[in-house]
Structure formats: structure tokens, C-alpha cells
């Protein structure tokens, strides 16, 4: 009995330890983020106060009011940025998924010469640092008139996301037995129908996880966006953050307010896709 007691106590202790560690880990993850959220409701004096103000004394919506306010009152065309970000991220994610699905299907279902090298080659395009890419890309975009357009950024983000999308989706189609599509064809589907009605639904989770990664990349990308956008017509939210920095000052409170606006849609989307995300990565990852 003594032995059992010992193990029972140990199990309890481990449980408590697990809980405490988990709590600390989550705190480390959340605090810097929540600090941003909190700051968005505080006046800059209080954020920058020395000695520090730990208990927020003055929570208000001033930063938000200013952000949505008119030009000259600290207003930033935030709705325009939001719309731009949304259009660019959603469109580029959709296209990346379509292109990635075609590519992934090709890798998963066909045998051809140089498959491995082509695959690695595609992956490596993502390894090119944005810094080395931004200027030549800018020149190409400028020559083709794509600078400062939604289209330009969409193309760039599609290219940025396609390799990873292909990879994940390829892994996923491998999970779908070839017989499934064959059975559907025998049941009277065309090749195309067999794909859409049978193979695609099975691989949906993979598509969902590829989608969320692509969306987050496009939604948060800064280096290239700052180079390829100019005016409010195409500036995305990460670039918009820079509106709060001027030559001498950073309006940190205002920046936080915009940041919150950036985080919320991404967070909601992630939560919704959560279930598929894990499944998608699980299957997409192992085999391939």
C-alpha cells in the first residue's frame, strides 16, 4: 500500500507540475501580446511612465478614436488598409491553394523524371531572403505597372506561399488512396468530378491548414509589402503600422490599436480552422 501511495502522490504532483508549467508557458506566450492589447487602451504617457504604472489608471478608446479619426487628428486610413489586407490576403491565399493543389496533385499522383529535384527546387524559392528579392522585384513590378496595385502584392504572396502549400497538399493527396478516385470513376464520374467530389473532400483538412498558413503569411508580411506599396490604395496593415512612426516619434499607443485590429481577424480564423489545422498538418507532414 505504501508503494501505491507513493505513486499516487507522485502522479498528483506531476499533475500539479504539468498545470503550473503549462500556465507559465501560456503566460509567457500571452503576456507580450496582451501587453500590446492593453497598451492600445492607454495613453502614451502612462505606457512610457517612469516609474511604471502597473495598474492601468486610465483606460480609454482614445487611440482607436484617433485612428478612425480624420486626417490631421491622428487618423490613419485604417479601414482602407484593412480592406486592402483582406482583399490581398484572401485572394492570394485562394490562388495559392488552387495552384498548390494542382502542383501537389501532380507530385502525389504522377511519376516523372527529376521529381525530387523539381520539388526541392520549388521549395528553395522560398529560401530566398526578402531583402535580396525586394529591389529586383520592385523593378520588375514597376516596369509592368503592377506597383502599388493589389494585383502586384497578390502575385508576390502567391509565389511566397505556393511552395509550402504544394508540400502540405502533396502529402495529403498521398493519403488518399488512388482506388478512391478509380471507384468514383467506375461509379460514373469524370476524372474531374472524381477529383472534386471524392479526392478533394478527403484532403480538405490539408487544404485548410495550408490555407491558414498562407493567410497568416500574407496578412503579416511587411518587408516586400513596404517596398511594393505606395499609397493608401494598396498599403496593407503591417505597412500601415509605419504610419505611426514619423521622423521623431513613434505613436506606440496608436500602433497597438492598429495591431489589435490586425490580430483579431487572424485569431478568429485560426480558432475556426483549428480542428482541421492539426489534422491537416498531421497527414500532410509525415508522408511525402
Amino acid at each position: 500500500m505504501n508503494e501505491n501511495l507513493q505513486y499516487r502522490i507522485r502522479a498528483r504532483l506531476l499533475k500539479v507540475l504539468h498545470f503550473v508549467t503549462l500556465f507559465i508557458a501560456m503566460a509567457i506566450i500571452c503576456v507580450p501580446g496582451l501587453w500590446v492589447v492593453l497598451n492600445s487602451f492607454r495613453p502614451t504617457v502612462e505606457i512610457m511612465a517612469k516609474p511604471p504604472v502597473w495598474v492601468p489608471g486610465d483606460l480609454n478608446l482614445d487611440n482607436y478614436r484617433a485612428m478612425f479619426g480624420a486626417v490631421g487628428e491622428g487618423g490613419v486610413p485604417v479601414l482602407q488598409y484593412f480592406t486592402n489586407s483582406l482583399i490581398i490576403s484572401v485572394t492570394s491565399t485562394l490562388i495559392a491553394i488552387l495552384v498548390g493543389m494542382a502542383g501537389g496533385y501532380a507530385f502525389a499522383r504522377f511519376r516523372f523524371k527529376g521529381k525530387a529535384s523539381i520539388f526541392i527546387g520549388l521549395m528553395l524559392t522560398r529560401a530566398v531572403p526578402g531583402v535580396s528579392l525586394s529591389l529586383p522585384l520592385f523593378i520588375v513590378m514597376a516596369k509592368t505597372g503592377l506597383i502599388d496595385t493589389h494585383m502586384g502584392l497578390i502575385l508576390v504572396y502567391v509565389a511566397l506561399n505556393v511552395p509550402f502549400t504544394i508540400w502540405l497538399i502533396d502529402g495529403f493527396f498521398r493519403q488518399v488512396p488512388v482506388e478512391l478516385a478509380e471507384a468514383a470513376e467506375i461509379d460514373g464520374c469524370t476524372r474531374w468530378q472524381a477529383f472534386w467530389k471524392v479526392e478533394f473532400p478527403v484532403a480538405r483538412a490539408g487544404v485548410a491548414s495550408a490555407g491558414i498558413f498562407a493567410f497568416l503569411t500574407s496578412w503579416n508580411e511587411y518587408a516586400l509589402a513596404s517596398q511594393l506599396t505606395r499609397s493608401t490604395f494598396s498599403k496593407t496593415m503591417p505597412v500601415g503600422l509605419r504610419d505611426f512612426t514619423s521622423e521623431f516619434t513613434i505613436n506606440w499607443g496608436g500602433m497597438c490599436a492598429l495591431a489589435v485590429l490586425m490580430i483579431i481577424p487572424a485569431l478568429i480564423l485560426t480558432f475556426l480552422v483549428q480542428k482541421h489545422l492539426i489534422a491537416g498538418l498531421t497527414f500532410g507532414g509525415v508522408k511525402g
Partner: protein, 298 residues
């Protein structure tokens, strides 16, 4: 009527190939060309002057370049390894949770919602020596009575950047490894328990080999994405002070855009691309090895 009909796999891959060539390959060739010229942004005519490998020689002879190169490798190695370990720990912690896991997973991915540039600003303020969150906390708790110069001291600045980078990217590891943990079949773990393994031993001998492919996938993905750290470093220290945190990307960015010496910047960029390619291929190899270990190759 013998018309050439491309094989279907080629047709399927074509959109990807076209878009990647247009957006990555062509600009890359352009910058490759410009790395052999004294190209200066403010003087477009310099693009047409061929100077051979001068820029490369200059980069190779530059102590600053190699210092940045070494520091970049150091940062990458430390960051990737630590992120992997932390991500693994986090995934294991979350994996053990039975109730409310979906919410926890979302929370775990919280930092992924933060644009790297935002992370840069955020940690710049958090590590500010005067009004930063960390020093304020340390001083208020009485743990320190000096303003610790987080972003100035060589080691501390490196550490601060590391923290910011880890904060923003550990989630990626955690979510991928968590997916791996979900894929580990329960039976072998139980078999190991029955075979007499302690929890650590069953992790070490069974779970770990199973999630190894996922770890390499995460490493490969992250090594593809490391240049994203540019935004963070650029905002936090921009390589300073006194080049103590100078990385390839900050050096290249400043040379190219601020000094406007694009030719030279591109030459350094090319050398750094090889670095990225090396890391990526290395992890792909490891990935395939780990897969065939589990009999999952192909």
C-alpha cells in the same frame, strides 16, 4: 497532325512554375546580374557597367561581412534549436491536456498572429532600458536596481533578439510537433510502458523517433523562413550598436537601400542565399532519413 501534348503532371505544375519564375526567378536573375555591376540606386546608369566579381571579392575580404555571416549562422543555430526544444516542450504540455485543448491550441498560436514588424516594435519597447516592461518589472520586484541595457550590451542584445525571435516563432514548431504527437499511434507507447519504460524512456525511444519527421519539417520550414527575422532585428537594433547584432540581412538591407549600393548588397545577398539553401537541403535530407527510419519514405 502530330501535336506535342505535354504530360499531365507538367500541365498541373505549370501555374506554380510560371508564378515562381515570374516572382522569384526573374528578379533573382536581375539581382544576380546587378551583383556584377557597381549598381547604385541613385544612379541608374551604373547598372550598365560590368565590374566582374569585384563586389564578391570585396564582400569576401570584408571582415564586417564575415562577422555578420558568422553571427547569422550562430543566431540561426541557436534560435532554431531552442525554438525546436521549446516548441517540443510546449507541444508535449498541450498534448497532455484533455479539456479545453482547442482553446489552448489557439492561444499557443497567438504569436503567429503578430506581424514580425510588430514583434520588433513590441520587443523594442519591452526591452527598453528606461521604460521597458522587463526592466520595470525587475525594478518593481526589487530584483534589480540598475537599468539593464538589454539592447546595447552585446550578449544581452543578442539575447533580446533571440527572445523576440523565439517568441514569434516557437508557435510554428509547437503546432507542427503537436500535429506530430497526434499522429503517434498509441499502441507502441503503451507497449513501451508495459516493457518497463519510464515516461522519459518511452518519450526518448518511441515518441521522439515518431515525431522526428515533424521536427525536421518544422526546421525545414523555419529555415526557409528565417529571413523573416529581418523585420524583427531591423526594428529592434538594426544591427547595432557597434555592429554587435549585425546580421547578414541588416547589413544587406542597409547597404542596399540606405547606402544605395545595390550591386554590392546583391553580391552579399547571393552569398547568403547559399546559406539558406544549405540549411534547407540539410533539413530535407534529415527529414528523409527520419522518414525512412520509420518506414514511411516515398
Amino acid at each position: 497532325m502530330s501535336r506535342f501534348r505535354p504530360p499531365p503532371w507538367f500541365v498541373l505544375l505549370l501555374p506554380a512554375i510560371i508564378i515562381l519564375s515570374a516572382v522569384v526567378l526573374i528578379p533573382l536573375l536581375l539581382s544576380l546580374y546587378s551583383s556584377f555591376t557597381p549598381y547604385r540606386l541613385t544612379r541608374p546608369e551604373t547598372l550598365y557597367k560590368w565590374i566582374g566579381t569585384y563586389n564578391y571579392e570585396k564582400a569576401i575580404e570584408s571582415a564586417h561581412f564575415w562577422a555578420a555571416f558568422g553571427r547569422t549562422i550562430l543566431l540561426l543555430t541557436i534560435a532554431l534549436n531552442l525554438e525546436m526544444l521549446m516548441g517540443l516542450g510546449l507541444a508535449l504540455l498541450v498534448n497532455k491536456v484533455t479539456y479545453g485543448q482547442r482553446t489552448l491550441r489557439t492561444v499557443m498560436m497567438f504569436p503567429m498572429m503578430f506581424s514580425p514588424i510588430l514583434v520588433g516594435f513590441q520587443f523594442k519597447f519591452i526591452f527598453n532600458d528606461n521604460v521597458g516592461l522587463v526592466n520595470n518589472a525587475l525594478q518593481s520586484l526589487g530584483l534589480s536596481n540598475v537599468a539593464i541595457p538589454w539592447l546595447v550590451d552585446g550578449q544581452l542584445a543578442f539575447f533580446s533578439i533571440l527572445v523576440a525571435e523565439m517568441w514569434s516563432s516557437t508557435s510554428v514548431f509547437a503546432i507542427l510537433i503537436l500535429a506530430g504527437l497526434f499522429a503517434v499511434p498509441r499502441d507502441p507507447i503503451e507497449a513501451a510502458k508495459v516493457d518497463g519504460c519510464t515516461p522519459w524512456q518511452s518519450f526518448r525511444h518511441i515518441t521522439l523517433p515518431y515525431i522526428m519527421p515533424f521536427i525536421y519539417i518544422a526546421l525545414a520550414i523555419r529555415s526557409l523562413d528565417v529571413a523573416r527575422a529581418y523585420d524583427i532585428v531591423q526594428i529592434m537594433t538594426n544591427g547595432g550598436p557597434a555592429r554587435r547584432t549585425e546580421l547578414l540581412w541588416t547589413l544587406i538591407g542597409r547597404t542596399g537601400y540606405v547606402d544605395a549600393k545595390m550591386g554590392y548588397a546583391n553580391a552579399m545577398g547571393y552569398i547568403s542565399i547559399f546559406l539558406a539553401i544549405f540549411f534547407t537541403i540539410y533539413f530535407f535530407r534529415k527529414l528523409n532519413a527520419a522518414r525512412s527510419e520509420l518506414g514511411m519514405a516515398g
